[in-house]
Symmetry: C2
Subunit: 387 residues, 2 copies
């Protein structure tokens, strides 16, 4: 393991596009509805090998998208997992065929509430059906099959991406060789739901939200979405990280004695809110947070999480958590590992010491990189993939 | 100690009113401004004894007010510290003359941004000067003097009330015999500021806020204030308490597959937001959160907290924290106690095991009650107050 400093990697062999199922084939949803006109936007890095055994599906988090590596076409910044995907990094395109798809409900090309509803010719808005993590995974499974991949070498993701990893193992265990679940949980807690509800209420309190039909009016609930992002952003960082990064440092010499951003942490949060609204759709935020809140993997299995993994005994699992992650704390990962053990699955578990909070999974965390690289190398050997 | 179950106490000897300084006397503020036309609304419970030595000043938190005991005139609910003030409780009106004043900047009768600006004849709104915890305490000190009390037997408070307690000890040590600081801190952390900034941005994002001049327009930024309250309320509870109280329990049988309040925790938060706006002024929320963010007791003392307490060596201190309080964690109380020790002050410190989070100081916490009662009893003996 080295080359952690390779921040930006412009993939030589990158691909992707928008996949559509054959005409007439919709996406069946947990709600009972069927989503017609499905589109799944995806990126790929590396090449699928001859026996189609080296495919890795990377699953993104709440506000992520398919641009996991390379330069993001909207923000111009490195992809969200540029610390993990690249030459010499744990997910090396020279070795793996890496696929990352925008989730259903998202706003970077996959069908979501901003898409045109074929029934009306107008953007869905709130007419978009409520979707679940399992729905997102079902769409990914269709895409992966269409790409000619029977079995994924690995499914990997952090946060909501980790939820998708667990859902893959539960729903398609025969199509997953290895699974890496980072900083995640098998269910949304009361506190998780509470923070999401604050964000949704902030969006819906903005009069420009207009009952979800803002696109037709040519407006956007930017203020509400920015407040939602600010609240959420605090939960992504640990208290010590905030203190170390900002403490009580001021923006200028002295206090303003007003309501300007006096403290650097205020300015930072405002910036997070302001830049987020440029790249994210407010209704997508509602739908994806809802999908996360609805997530409780044990529910369809009599409330016993181990039962969800009963068919996944051949899947190799790697579960990682961070000590300072209070959004999806180690106790949630441990709950997953205990269920995996109870189901007789192979599961490695590492709690990584970090003060960076939940966002650690997106950052330069050498122990995370080493753990994922080591786990995948061992799995690759077992899978018969060349070094 | 007993009688913890005495929830409602209608004080037989209750008093209070609105105090105004002599004509022409304003409140000098840390900002350099002077607040004219000061009014301080206060409640009292019990009777001042002959030698005026049994007065206890109770300081309220961000959204509290002077109605600490008895029935609240607006909400109709018991006062916010009805678990602590009453016959047989730690603050017994049979023994102490208890005074609680609405802070300057508040909205329950003391001068605040909703008051009429004498300069314009209109509500202050954002023309109200930014105030500090020290300003609040300065107004209290004027009130206490006007009530004929030279030295308070005790100053007691939790959360922002605890900040006022520490400020009293720093600014008026000769006028305080004992000080009880619960679930508080000597400074606002980056995370504390961050959560407050989210709340302020939620209020200010509401178009009905109208740059703070909503009163003149006959409207109120209710949606924004409700979102602010919802976000803040999460920080008042611990994750385990939320999980125990609500978990993933639903409001109805089955999910709504929409954005109604499916989960009980959502409904609870919405209720907290909705009821808060009936009793609190949005601009007061901005000003009081600002005062808390500006709070850093060491600042005027070269950044050395112990120096703030150097003159308080004759004050007896009792500092309490709760294990599950992540808003003002034990580490902040320990920081205070270390400074008190360094300054040569008498300081007792108890970290109370509780899973109720920050709000524990408002709840039935027998160890807190016993600690405060025991501390005050010992201090009363030292002060020569009859049992």
């Amino acid at each position: 393991m080295s080359a952690i400093d390779a921040v930006e990697y412009e993939p030589a062999e990158a691909g992707g596009g928008v996949w559509r199922p054959p005409a007439g084939q919709g996406l069946p949803l947990d709600s009972g509805a069927t989503l017609a006109g499905l589109e799944v936007a995806y990126s790929t890095y590396g090449r699928l090998n001859a026996d189609r055994s080296n495919a890795v599906l990377v699953c993104h988090a709440l506000t992520g998208d398919q641009h996991a590596a390379g330069t993001h076409p909207v923000s111009g910044k490195p992809g969200w997992w540029s610390k993990m995907i690249g030459p010499g990094l744990p997910l090396d395109p020279a070795k793996y065929f890496i696929v990352c798809a925008n989730v259903v409900g998202g706003c970077m090309g996959s069908t979501g509430p901003a898409s045109i509803d074929p029934a009306t010719g107008k953007p869905y808005g709130l007419a978009f059906p409520v979707i679940t993590i399992a729905d997102m995974v079902r769409a990914q499974a269709m895409l992966v099959k269409a790409l000619g991949i029977d079995t994924l070498f690995a499914v990997v993701g952090g946060s909501m991406g980790g939820m998708q990893v667990l859902q893959w193992a539960a729903d398609y265990p025969e199509r997953v060789f290895a699974a890496v679940c980072i900083a995640s949980a098998a269910r949304h807690s009361a506190q998780n739901i509470a923070f999401h509800e604050v964000g949704r209420q902030a969006v819906m309190a903005d009069p420009e939200w207009r009952g979800g039909a803002y696109a037709e009016a040519g407006v956007r609930p930017e203020k509400g979405l920015a407040v939602a992002r600010m609240a959420a952003h605090i939960t992504y960082l640990s208290e010590p990280a905030l203190q170390r990064k900002f403490g009580r440092e001021l923006q200028r010499d002295g206090l303003s004695w007003g309501f300007d951003a006096d403290f650097q942490v205020e300015s930072y949060l405002r910036h997070q809110g302001a830049t987020f609204v440029d790249r994210f759709d407010a209704n997508s935020y509602l739908y994806i947070t809802r999908a996360m809140d609805y997530f409780e993997l044990a529910q369809k299995h009599g409330g016993v999480l181990a039962e969800a993994f009963r068919r996944a005994r051949n899947v190799r699992f790697c579960v990682l958590s961070f000590t300072s992650d209070w959004l999806y704390p180690t106790s949630e990962s441990r709950h997953v590992v205990q269920a995996l053990n109870a189901a007789g699955c192979r599961a490695g578990f590492v709690e990584i010491k970090s003060d960076k909070g939940h966002d650690a999974f997106l950052l330069d965390e050498p122990v995370m990189s080493a753990a994922v690289a080591g786990f995948l190398a061992a799995a690759a050997t077992a899978r018969g993939l060349g070094a």
